[in-house]
Symmetry: C2
Subunit: 209 residues, 2 copies
């Protein structure tokens, strides 16, 4: 009767399968990963995998949706611009935010997850939509709220905060994300990223201050 105890054997196996499947799917894609691969990588019998997850699709869906939790850190980052009403400090904060934002979103894991979801968006349309809403749009909405707050303080001049947030992230991410999508992985140096961040903020402030 101890099936769902947090530290029980079952829970440990469950966790091991999740981790193994995540790594395998990230590395080799959905179609490129067999259930035998996952079982072997998790050091678990295939039977056990099927005891925890009804089938391959369910396993995949659960893994992808589990990653939406990780965006919480990003939310905190984006929400965390101090409210001291000073123009110079604003620029300072935005610069730091943009660099952290860009660094976080160009992590290999993040980019690979992105590729994984996009690659299977036609097979699992609901999954792609769910991740888009719970991951992508949530961050943008938070960023928009931050911009709105800054606009209320008179530090920015913004009609449509969500659009401004999209302009902001679009300018920052367009180049490195596209490069990463079409190539195998990240294709940029930290210096390049910082440059993109700085220039993006410069243009953003030129238009929205």
């Amino acid at each position: 009767m101890a099936a769902i105890e947090p530290g029980g054997r079952s829970a440990r196996k469950h966790q091991a399968i999740m981790e193994a499947a995540t790594a395998a799917f990230m590395a080799k894609g959905y179609a490129g990963t067999s259930m035998d691969d996952i079982a072997k990588l998790a050091a678990v019998s295939k039977q056990t995998v099927y005891k925890h997850f009804a089938d391959k699709e369910k396993l995949f869906a659960e893994i992808v949706l589990a990653t939406t939790d990780r965006v919480d850190a990003m939310i905190d980052l984006v929400a965390g611009i101090p409210t001291d009403a000073d123009a110079d400090a604003l620029e300072e904060h935005l610069l730091r935010l943009s660099r952290q934002f860009l660094t976080a979103l160009t992590q290999p894991q993040v980019l690979q997850l992105r590729r994984l979801i996009i690659a299977n968006a036609d097979t699992f349309p609901d999954l792609g939509a769910a991740w888009y809403e719970q991951g992508f749009e949530r961050v943008l909405a938070t960023l928009a709220a931050t911009f709105q707050r800054l606009a209320d303080q008179g530090l920015l001049r913004i009609d449509d905060p969500l659009l401004a947030a999209n302009h902001f992230s679009g300018m920052l991410l367009w180049i490195p994300v596209n490069r990463a999508m079409f190539h195998g992985g990240p294709q940029h140096t930290q210096a390049e990223l910082d440059h993109y961040a700085d220039e993006g903020v410069r243009v953003f402030l030129a238009a929205y201050r």
Copy 2:
């Protein structure tokens, strides 16, 4: 010996296979499309397919690279800003350019091709890289050249034209392209697209004029 005659039967079959394979890959992805599907769709025997293309990978590569020709139209569009040195006319031209640019790049076919390449970028890294360079970067370089020309005329103030081109396209495309990547297909109305185009130009000019 008449295998390579332009109008010969062989050439027609070749064309039919290319078109069928393009449609099939676009619709169902690489792994989701079988060689039998392609043969049936092209109204041709599988044997004939293998007579024209060594294997599935070669067929896929040839199809994808064939589409890079289509970006020529985009190049012409982006290069085609008239050189009349008038600020109002500039804004007019940029607005029209941005709308056409956005409309062209959010065509379902374009987006699906994009998804197709991204989805298989890890299986065919060279292919993704080639398409990125010959498609993506070529358009951006042309746009950058146009901006440079406008800067030379004193209509824009630009240090790094290529970065400006990326800012421009990033602001325009970030929202609709991402939505399309994560969902099955296009998710926007023409009015939304026009709005994105107008606002993108507004911000661009605010920063770069």
